[in-house]
């Protein structure tokens, strides 16, 4: 039984191949302007890696904000369902799934049977998502990796308004002009994004265990900010950006 999950996200398209529910290949590609072409590219790439052809594939499930681009999919689910399925399949004890991607943040609460009880998605502004962190790292002239680890070096708490990405960016510029150390600014940004996310987590209610998925989980500074805010340890899968694609692949049709 071969199933493929394709998570067509706002920035990256992720694909994963399962053979009898075991991962045999995975890959990602920038969504770019030619989203549909890139869906096909990554689909072919992961099939090549798995050594299979389209005829071998039993099921293709699409998810993500661009899931309609996967017109050859046999099944399609929303990001919320795919994220919950993926995270709970990897960690059956998880009851709260936080998913932070490039443009959206989500918090999903599940019951003991793994069913979704409630969820929340960030409002129209991108302040609670990865693209915002990226632009802040750019403003500080550093890579995202540096941004994350530098943030860990600060103990300062600088309040920042992350209700709006534009306002937050102007606050960062003000801090730069005030010669605030970059580490403190990086931490302030991570704290602010984390606060946006945790307010959503609290809105839907949370219980242990908590998993963080999506590309932003690679930002170690953000993870620390979330853990500090929720006063709890967060589980981060080995490949957090692939969890929704993995969940989609498990939802066979």
């Amino acid at each position: 039984m071969i199933s493929i999950g394709i998570d067509a996200g706002a920035k990256f398209i992720k694909a994963i191949v399962l053979k009898d529910e075991k991962i045999v290949a995975k890959g990602q590609i920038l969504a770019g302007f030619e989203g549909k072409e890139n869906v096909e590219k990554i689909y072919n790439r992961v099939m090549n890696e798995a050594g299979i052809s389209p005829g071998d594939v039993n099921s293709v499930t699409s998810t993500g904000s661009g899931r309609k681009m996967v017109d050859f999919a046999t099944n399609s689910v929303t990001d919320v369902t795919a994220a919950a399925k993926g995270a709970l399949s990897l960690f059956p004890g998880v009851r709260t799934v936080i998913d932070v991607g490039a443009e959206e943040g989500r918090s999903i609460r599940c019951d003991n049977n793994g069913k979704i009880i409630d969820y929340a998605v960030n409002e129209k502004c991108a302040a609670g998502a990865g693209a915002f962190t990226e632009s802040m790292a750019r403003a500080l002239e550093m890579s995202l990796e540096e941004f994350g680890s530098l943030s860990l070096k600060s103990e300062k708490e600088i309040p920042m308004n992350a209700q709006c990405a534009v306002f937050a960016e102007s606050e960062v510029v003000s801090l730069l002009h005030a010669k605030t150390p970059k580490a403190d600014i990086a931490k302030a940004v991570n704290d602010a994004v984390a606060s946006r996310i945790t307010s959503m987590v609290r809105k839907v209610g949370f219980e242990k265990e908590i998993a963080l998925i999506g590309g932003v989980a690679y930002n170690v500074g953000f993870v620390k900010s979330i853990e500090t805010d929720l006063k709890d340890k967060i589980i981060i899968p080995e490949y957090p950006e692939y969890v929704s694609a993995y969940g989609a692949a498990l939802l066979i049709k």
Binding site: S65, T81, I116
Partner: protein
């Protein structure tokens, strides 16, 4: 089947202008569903509900606060842009300050021949509310008589009540069909009927409703078989939103908002002594707008009953951005629905809604409701 209603909804201004030309009568715009239209029909005046256009605008900033709800700003924009240039009069019954500001600014900047503010009691639960409102409706009637130069007789009022009651009865019958397993009309179609009810002459609307109800049994089953949803909240005439929900396999079977059931739910007793008092009783006892639903929050019981009668599986709770009365109600209503096993999805509406983003949320909500089939 609903082409006529859709045409009225889409071409509301052309309809009102043509009505005026055809009848030589007066047309008044009204804000808020608490205006007692019975008196207007008694005076042969066409009442049309002032609604927004759902188009971005840049004309209200100088006249109304940015943190007043998008609906009242959208309504005011229609006046300032001259979309309702055919109106002879403009009316409002007190409900919330936001819509009152739209009214006040409108009559100041776009004067009309006749304007009237009806001080509707906010505490509708007071034992003195009916008496108070009856007095105000009498004063309103006198003002209309003075404006038109024609006395409104008891028979006229009786006729006005009959016109309104008949129309309300017919739309109730339409809503009855929505209790069926696969309702013959979709939420979108129902909304077209409900909106047009507030835009066109109710006598014509009732005729069209008669026709619709006569042909409704021939609608094949299985057309509207999505997950049964109710929609609650602030003013809502956002047809593209309803269409989107139903395009992803939701079926809106019932609502509690002032374009839908709150507008038409109860009738005036026609044989209950003083006619004006009967009209006052109807408006005091109708399903309340949250701006009036205190000290006891009566909406919860009513909404739970609707949810039960229409067998809803989930509720979409919408709020016009900055609508404080609804914002206050929503946590309590959502909690009551959740306790009754009905999951809720909260969405904040603006003049235009981000259909793409809302679609993902609605789809996720529907998946959550159907997860037995998914997982």
């Amino acid at each position: 089947m609903i082409d006529q209603f859709r045409d009225w909804e889409k071409n509301r201004h052309a309809y009102a202008k043509a009505w005026k030309e055809k009848t030589g009568g007066k047309v008044t715009g009204y804000f808020c569903s608490y205006v007692p239209e019975e008196i207007l029909y008694a005076a042969n005046i066409l009442p049309v509900r002032i609604l927004g256009s759902h188009e971005p605008q840049d004309v209200t900033e100088a006249h109304i606060f940015g943190m007043y709800c998008p609906f009242c700003r959208d309504c005011l924009a229609q006046g300032l842009k001259g979309k309702y240039d055919y109106l002879d009069g403009l009316l409002i019954a007190q409900s919330c300050l936001h819509i009152r500001q739209a009214y006040t600014s409108w009559i100041k900047h776009v004067p009309v021949d006749f304007s009237y503010y009806l001080p509707f009691p906010n505490n509708v639960q007071s034992p003195r509310a009916v008496t108070y409102l009856a007095g105000e409706i009498k004063a309103f009637k006198t003002a209309i008589e003075k404006w038109t130069g024609k006395e409104i007789t008891d028979q006229d009022i009786r006729d006005g009540i009959k016109i309104m009651n008949e129309n309300r009865n017919l739309i109730h019958r339409l809503y009855e069909y929505k209790k069926k397993e696969n309702p013959p009309v979709s939420g979108e179609e129902t909304m077209e009927v409900a909106i047009s009810q507030q835009l066109v002459d109710k006598k014509e609307h009732s005729e069209a409703l008669h026709k619709l109800l006569g042909s409704i049994n021939s609608v094949p089953d299985g057309k509207n078989n999505g997950t049964r949803l109710m929609i609650l909240g602030s003013e809502n005439d956002d047809i593209p939103f309803i269409r989107m929900v139903e395009s992803v396999k939701g079926t809106i079977v019932i609502d509690d908002h002032c374009i839908g059931t709150r507008y038409f739910w109860n009738n005036v007793h026609e044989n209950n002594g003083d006619l004006i008092t009967s009209i006052a009783e109807r408006y005091i006892n109708r399903p309340a707008c949250p701006s009036k639903d205190w000290i006891i929050r009566t909406r919860i019981k009513h909404i739970l009953q609707l949810a039960h009668d229409y067998r809803v599986k989930g509720a979409i709770v919408i709020q016009q951005k900055f609508c404080d009365p609804h914002e206050l109600d929503i946590p309590a209503i959502s909690r009551a629905l959740n306790a009754a096993g009905i999951k809720t999805l909260f969405l904040e509406f603006d003049v235009t809604v981000p259909v793409g983003q809302f679609k993902i949320r609605v789809e996720a909500f529907l998946e959550m409701l159907q997860e037995e089939d998914i997982f």
